[in-house]
Symmetry: C2
Subunit: 119 residues, 2 copies
């Protein structure tokens, strides 16, 4: 039971779009991820997902428009809503997700990460 | 489904030790709170609790020692572990908690907040 330095954890993340688990709170994982460029359109049919921007700017594209999140802004994407994260420059994001959540949701492709590393 | 500015939400919080709900992610609430001075020793028997420091310094006292959290540091207090948050100066904290979590855990006193406001 130790404190977690989010900045130090980000130093251990070397690849975009590969969330790492930094802790678990009941049925959720707290994850950190670096994003850059486009992800993939997907939906989590049964799970809400929170994005909190620690550093940089994150765009979440929806079918009816974009939402731009800057530092200290967050958004909860409700289950069932199709979305695609996008970042022009590297962005550092904290995620709160159900333990069952797969990063690419209903899609499986080269960006799918089935076994998340704990850091 | 809108983005949430954490800074703007903190401007709406006028009392210490009264967490406000800013969103829900599956079975969890995301809460914001301002703390100052001592809280109360308590335990959540069945729920883990995450504290993430947005601004300021938070001390979490445990029976075997203190943990000091600064900006961008967080800690998950596992269920069953007695603790007491303390802040010498005002601190702004994000909490991730089960929807069932009561702020004072197994204790009920003047700091207990049973019905949390959504902001």
């Amino acid at each position: 039971m130790n404190k977690i330095s989010v900045s130090e954890k980000f130093e251990q993340i070397n690849h975009y779009w590969e969330p790492k688990i930094i802790g678990e709170v009941n049925d959720s994982y707290i994850k950190l991820a670096k994003f850059k460029d486009e992800f993939v359109w997907h939906v989590h049919e049964h799970e809400d997902e929170m994005f909190y921007v620690i550093q940089g700017t994150l765009t979440i594209r929806f079918r009816d428009g974009d939402v731009v999140l800057r530092e200290h802004e967050c958004m909860i994407v409700p289950k069932g809503v199709e979305h695609m994260p996008f970042a022009e420059e590297e962005v550092h994001v904290m995620l709160v997700e159900a333990k069952s959540t797969l990063n690419t949701g209903n899609v499986e492709n080269e960006k799918t990460v089935k076994h998340l590393e704990k850091i």
